[in-house]
Structure formats: C-alpha cells, structure tokens
C-alpha cells in the first residue's frame, strides 16, 4: 500500500514538473521588415539616379503595414487596422495632407517590392505611402516562485512566469513616383510582467498588444517632429519641388466681364421697372 502511494506521488511530481515546459520558453517573435518587402532577394544595391521629388499639396497619403515575415506569429489584421487608424487620426488635421487612406494588408504582397507599392498607390489614388514595419520579441522566463507549482494550486495563483515584451515600430514615408524615402521615425516600448502558469498565454497576448500601443504612442510624436523637419528641409533643398495642386487655394472671383454682365442685367431691370 505504501509502495503504491509512493508511486502515485512520484508520478504526480513528474507530471507537474513537466507543466513548466508546456509554453515556449523562448517566447514569441513577430516581425515585418520594410527591406524584405521593398527589396526582396536583393543582392546588388539599387542604382540610384538623381531625381527631383515633386510634392503637390494637399498630398494624398496611404498608410500600410509592411507584410509580416512568414514563419513568425504576425500581428492580426484587426490590430493592424486599429494601429493604422490611430496614426491616421493624428495626421488628418494638416492642411497640406489631402487625405489619408488606410491600406489593408490584403493588398500588400509579401516581397512585392516597389512594383506592388505602385500598384497599391494607383489603386488607392495616393502619391505618398507611409510604410510601418515592426519587430516584437517576447522573452519568457520562470522565476523562483515557480517551485510552488508542485502544489497544483500554485500553478493557478502564483505568478511564477514572467514575460518581457520588447517592441519596435518604424514608419518610413516614401514618395511613390520617385521611390525616394522622404523621412522616417521609430517608436519603441518594453512591457514587463508576470503571470501564473495557467492564464499566462492570455496575459502575454495582452502584453504584446500593449507593447504595440505603447510603441505607436512614442512613434506618433516622433513622426510629427520628423514631418515638421521635412517641411523645413524641402524649402531649401533643390532635390524637392513643392507645387500646390490646382485649386489648393481658390477664390470666388468674377472679374470685369461679370461686372459688365451685371450692368446689362441692371439695364434690363431699369427697362422692366420703367414699363411696369
């Protein structure tokens, strides 16, 4: 009897010891690279010809995420659209930005290159595209409290697992026609926390989403600062030509011809009143 009890305890101890390795100790990685998208399989640097970038305010801007790397857990489409809408909302008020189109990921082909970028720009009728890339790494570790998992209840209440989520989001703004990078800005974040073994997955997922939100929180003011700097730079840089679109500033103006027509109308009014 005592032998049977010992065997049962031993089996339980071995089974519990195995629980600590049910989640990936190495963590999770999510990544989308701008270079992989725009310069797929590039072995030679692209030939750069000096060009003049023509910017015509109000500029039509597209904003999209670079396609994620295959083989990694990628940001969900709903999360991407939510982040893009946040960036869009921050820049909609500028008078030199005509419209901002959020481009869903379905239109961004992995390793599509500038050809895909130009197709998307034509489809959405935009002249400048802001491409967001990201890199997120989650490190998982068990801390000293995880020894209490053997109590079984400990796996549900003791925060024996800890995560460290490091996120980087980068926005690079390209002029589609000249394929030139206009400016870029980064945003980073680090989210740390701990959770019990049961429910660790949920907390880690929430931390990953929080990591992106915090990185975008940092990205937006950086992008605004870079945009302001770019606006000053183009005033003195011969490589950029800024020409307002037709009708950017309009006037309701009649001119002397209209004044002559209204004088004729006044003459008719005089005739009508005189005969009445």
């Amino acid at each position: 009897m005592r032998l049977i009890q010992s065997i049962i305890v031993l089996i339980a101890a071995i089974a519990l010891a195995g629980c600590a390795s049910w989640h990936n100790p190495r963590g999770a990685t999510q990544s989308a690279s701008l270079v992989d998208y725009l310069y797929p399989d590039a072995k030679q640097p692209p030939a750069m010809a000096p060009t003049v970038v023509k910017l015509r305010p109000p500029v039509r801007v597209g904003i999209a995420f670079a396609p994620g790397k295959t083989g990694t857990d990628n940001l969900s489409e709903a999360q991407r659209l939510r982040l893009l809408e946040r960036v869009k909302a921050s820049f909609s008020q500028h008078e030199y930005i005509g419209k901002i189109e959020v481009i869903p990921s379905q239109y961004m082909r992995a390793k599509g290159g500038f050809a895909n970028l130009e197709q998307v720009a034509r489809m959405f009728d935009v002249e400048v595209v802001a491409l967001l890339s990201y890199d997120q790494v989650q490190f998982n570790d068990a801390n000293a409290l995880s020894v209490l998992y053997w109590t079984i209840i400990g796996a549900y209440v003791i925060n024996g697992e800890q995560y460290d989520v490091q996120t980087m989001v980068d926005a690079a703004v390209f002029d589609v026609q000249s394929r030139k990078l206009l400016f870029r800005a980064p945003g980073t974040s680090q989210v740390k926390g701990s959770a019990p073994l049961a429910g660790f997955g949920d907390k880690a997922r929430a931390a990953r989403v929080d990591g992106y939100d915090k990185a975008v929180d940092q990205l937006i003011p950086q992008l605004q600062a870079q945009l302001d700097g770019f606006r000053e730079r183009v005033k003195n840089d011969a490589g950029y030509q800024v020409e307002n679109k037709a009708g950017y500033k309009s006037a309701g103006a009649l001119g002397w011809v209209s004044l002559a027509l209204i004088a004729l109308l006044a003459g008719m009014a005089f005739v009508v009143r005189r005969r009445a």
Binding site: S92, S250, G252, L259, M268
Partner: protein
C-alpha cells in the same frame, strides 16, 4: 483676421463651422473684394425688388453654407477659399428670374432674349473657368485659382431658391 474667417477645409471638418458663412465675406485683395461685392450688391438690389429683401437674405443665409458644403464635397483639392462670387451668381440668378416674371408689354421678347443670353454667358464663363481660362478675373495672387465650383454651386443654389420661392408663392395663392 482673414485666416480665421476664410473657408479652410480642415478647420471646417474640425468643427469651425462659422467658416461655412464667413468664407464668402473675405477676399484676397481689395480689388477682388470690390468687384465681387459690387456685383453681388447690384444683383441683390434687383432680386430684392422681385422677391423682397427678407427672402433674398434667407436665400443668402442658406446659399452660403450650401456652396461651402458643396466645395467640401466636389472640390477635394481646395483647401482654402475666399470670395463672394458664388453668392453673387446666386443673386444674379434670382434677379434674372425675377425680371423674367416681371417683363411686360412689347419688350417682353427683348428682355427675355437678353436674359437668356446672360444665362448662356454665365454658363460659358463657368465652363471656361473649369477648363482653366480666367476671363478677366480679379487681381488674384499667383498661387490662387478661380473657384469655378463655387460659381456652379451658386448657380444651382440660385435655381433652387427661385424654384422654392415660386412654389411657396403658388401654395400661398391656392390657400387664399
């Protein structure tokens, strides 16, 4: 001051709705203001004799935001706009419609023929502006284009105002 009153697409969409009206009151130069306001005033006086001052003022109060909202919808590239010519076209249409109704006697054909010619001239002017020709436009700064959309919207608003006033007039006569 003019910057606070002019039609500004982004400011209007951000909630500064007074610009729907005040955008028609500010101009880019004194010359621009003089011609637009003189035309509008002359047309308003003629229209007021046919429809009454109160109705003309109502037409202006409703026509101004109609033109501004129309610019938001059909002139996506227009970020800034100033000038009263849209309202002047509205008033000119009301004036022409009033004279058309009031023409009497032997000169009816002559008056109406001139009014038709004026309407055709207005349509040609708007079409030419849409193609990029400015026919004797006011002294505008070099980066400012003539907003033909405002003239078109003013013409539409004028026709709507005349139709509405005539319909109300018929309703009043029926009830009397």
């Amino acid at each position: 001051m003019a910057a606070w009153l002019e039609f500004d697409r982004h400011a209007i969409l951000a909630g500064q709705v007074w610009r729907l009206w005040t955008g028609h009151l500010v101009h880019y130069s004194a010359h621009h203001a003089l011609i637009d306001l003189a035309t509008a005033l002359a047309a308003a006086l003629i229209a007021a004799q046919s429809f009454g001052a109160r109705r003309v003022l109502c037409a202006l109060a409703l026509g101004a935001p109609f033109i501004s909202i129309g610019l938001l919808l059909i002139a996506a590239d227009c970020a800034h706009y100033r000038g009263a010519s849209g309202l002047a076209v509205l008033l000119a249409e009301m004036a022409g419609a009033g004279l058309w109704q009031q023409a009497r006697g032997n000169h009816v054909a002559m008056v109406r023929a001139v009014l038709v010619l004026l309407a055709v001239a207005l349509a040609v002017k708007i079409a030419a502006e849409a193609r990029g020709f400015s026919l004797g436009a006011s002294d505008l700064p070099p980066d400012v284009m003539v907003g033909w959309q405002a003239h078109l919207l003013g013409a539409v608003a004028g026709m709507a105002a005349v139709a509405l006033l005539r319909t109300r007039g018929r309703c009043v006569r029926r009830t009397m």
